[in-house]
C-alpha cells in the first residue's frame, strides 16, 4: 500500500483481496459476529494531543479528509473511547498521563502509535527526556511510520485495524491483562513508585 506501513507483528500478512472487497458483500459475516462489526466501525478516539503529530489530526477529523465516514470521531474522555492514537514523541511526563488514560479506557481498546518517534525514539533518540520504545510500557497494536505521516495513512491504519479485529489479532488489551506484571515492572523501573495502584491484581510469581 502506498502510504503507510502498519503493524509490527511477524504473524500478520496483509491480504490485498480482503481490503478491496471491503466487507461489502459479507452480510453473513456480519450476522455471525455483530460484536466485531460494532468494534470495527465505531472506533472512537480519545482526544489527547500527545506530541507534534497532533498537527495532522485536525485535518483528518474535519471536512476534507473526513474520518467520520470510517467511524472515527474524537471523544472527550477516555471512558468513552476505544482507540488511542499516540501522535508523536512521548516525554517522560506525558507517559504517566498516557498510562493513566490507557488504564481508564474500557476494554476492548486498541492503541496505534503515530509517527516514527514512538517506534524507536525517532529523531530524539538521544534525548534524556523522551521514551524510546513505547512498546515497553503499554501494548501497541500497530505503528504508522512517517514524520509526519499523511492523513491518508491514518485511514490505511484504520482499515488494517479492521482486518486485525476480524482475525482476532488486535489483542493489545489482552496482552496487557496477561503480562501486566511485566508492564508494571517496566513502569516502576522508569518512574520509581507509582501513585496509582495496580490495575489488575499482580499474583505471586510462579
Amino acid at each position: 500500500m502506498a502510504y503507510a506501513y502498519f503493524s509490527g507483528r511477524d504473524d500478520y500478512h496483509f491480504d490485498h483481496q480482503e481490503i478491496t472487497h471491503m466487507d461489502r458483500n459479507q452480510l453473513t459475516k456480519w450476522l455471525k459476529t455483530p460484536v466485531k462489526m460494532g468494534h470495527k466501525y465505531s472506533l472512537h478516539a480519545v482526544y489527547f494531543c500527545t506530541g507534534c503529530g497532533i498537527i495532522e489530526v485536525p485535518p483528518v477529523i474535519t471536512a476534507r479528509w473526513d474520518a467520520e465516514r470510517f467511524g472515527v470521531i474524537p471523544v472527550a474522555t477516555p471512558r468513552q473511547a476505544n482507540l488511542f492514537l499516540i501522535t508523536g514523541y512521548v516525554s517522560v511526563k506525558t507517559l504517566k498521563a498516557i498510562i493513566r488514560t490507557y488504564e481508564q479506557m474500557p476494554e476492548p481498546k486498541f492503541t496505534v502509535g503515530f509517527g516514527s518517534c514512538p517506534v524507536n525514539g525517532g529523531m530524539y533518540w538521544d534525548s534524556y527526556n523522551t521514551i524510546k520504545h513505547l512498546d515497553k510500557y503499554i501494548p501497541v497494536d500497530g505503528w504508522i511510520a512517517g514524520c509526519m505521516p499523511r492523513p491518508e495513512a491514518i485511514f490505511v491504519a484504520v482499515v488494517h485495524l479492521w482486518t486485525l479485529i476480524d482475525k482476532d489479532m488486535a489483542d493489545g488489551y489482552k496482552r496487557y491483562r496477561k503480562d501486566y506484571k511485566a508492564y508494571r515492572a517496566n513502569q516502576e523501573q522508569l518512574f520509581g513508585t507509582l501513585e496509582w495502584p495496580p490495575l489488575f491484581p499482580i499474583g505471586e510469581s510462579k
Partner: protein
Amino acid sequence: MRELELYFGPQHLGMVGNFSITLQVEGDRILKATANPGYLHRGFEKLMELRSWIKNYPMVCRINVVEPDSMEMVYAMGVEKLAGHEVPERAHYVRSIYLELARVGSHLFGLWAYANMLGFDTVAQWAMYHRDLVLDLFEELTGGRVYHIYICPGGVRRDFPEGFKDKIVHTLHSIGGCVPDYNDTFFHNRLFCDRAQGIGTVTREEAIAMGGTGQVLRATGMKYDIRRVEPYAAYDKVPWEVPTRENGDAYSRIMVIRDEMIESVHMIFKLLDAMPEGDVYNRIPNPIKWTIPPGEAYVRCESSRGELGLYMVSNGEDKPYRVHFRTPSYSHGLTVLESALQNASVADVGNIMISLYVVAPEIDR
C-alpha cells in the same frame, strides 16, 4: 472560603497541545492559576549541540509544529550572520512569500482552535479546509505538508516550479473570496462579540511589563512588529500596514489576527509582482564539514505568535556551541496567562488561553 483545585490537564477536549493549567477556584471564580509546562520537553538545545550545522536543518523546524517556517528562517538568519554568508536578492522575495503563506496557514489553524472552543463548528471546518489548500501549495513546492525544510542558510532549497505563481494566486483568491462568509458567520456575529469582548484583558502596561509581543501587544494599540522595527528579507520593499486594535481583550486579539491574514494575502500579491529574477541559493563553502568562525549572534523575526529570537554562540567547530530560542509563547503562556486568568470565570479559561495564541511545544522546546 471553600477552595477547590482543578486540573485543566493535558487530556482535555479544550486543550490544543500538550499543556496543563492548575486552577484554584472558589465557586466559579479563579483565584490562582499555575501553568504546568514540561510535557513536551525534549532538551532540544542540548541535542542541537551534538549535531553539525547542516544536520540541524531538519531539527529546527520541529520546535513549533503549527508554523515551522519561522523557525527555519531565524536559524538561517543566525547562521548567515555568524558565517558572513550572503543571500541572493530573489531568495529574499521567495522567503517572504513563503513566510507569509505560512502565516496565513498558522492563523487559519488558530481560527480552527478558537472557533471550536466557542462552538462555531462551521467556521472551524472552513478554516481547516482552507488551511489544507495552503498546505497543498507547500506540498508542491517542498514535498512535505507540514515540515518543509525549505529555508537553508544561503537562500532557499529550490526555486518555484512552472506555473506556481498562478497556483498561489488562484488559491489565495479562493480563500479571499470566502472572507465575506467568514465575516457574516463569525467575525461580525453578535454571539462572538458578546462572548469575547472584555474577556482576558491585558492592558498595555501589563503587556510591556510581562514581555508580551505579537498580537497581545498589537491588540493594545502599539504597532510593534519586527518586520517593521528591524526589517529582514524583503519586507521593506513593499508597502504594507500593521493592523492594531485598542482594547486588549480577546475580541481585539482575534480581530488583529483576522486583519493580519488579509494583510498577508495582499502582501503576497505585491511581492509576486515585485520579484526579480536570479538564483535562489548561494552554496555553502563545504557541505561535508562546515566550520563557522567563533562569535555570537542574536537575530529575531516575527512569527505568527510574536517575536521569535535566536541566540547563537559558536566556538569555531562544525557544531553549535550554544543555541537558545526565544519563543513568543514562553512569556505568553507562563507569565501573561497566569495574570490574565486571575479573577476570570472557569467558563472562560479555554477562551482566554486560545486567544493568547500559545503553542505548547514552543514553551518546552
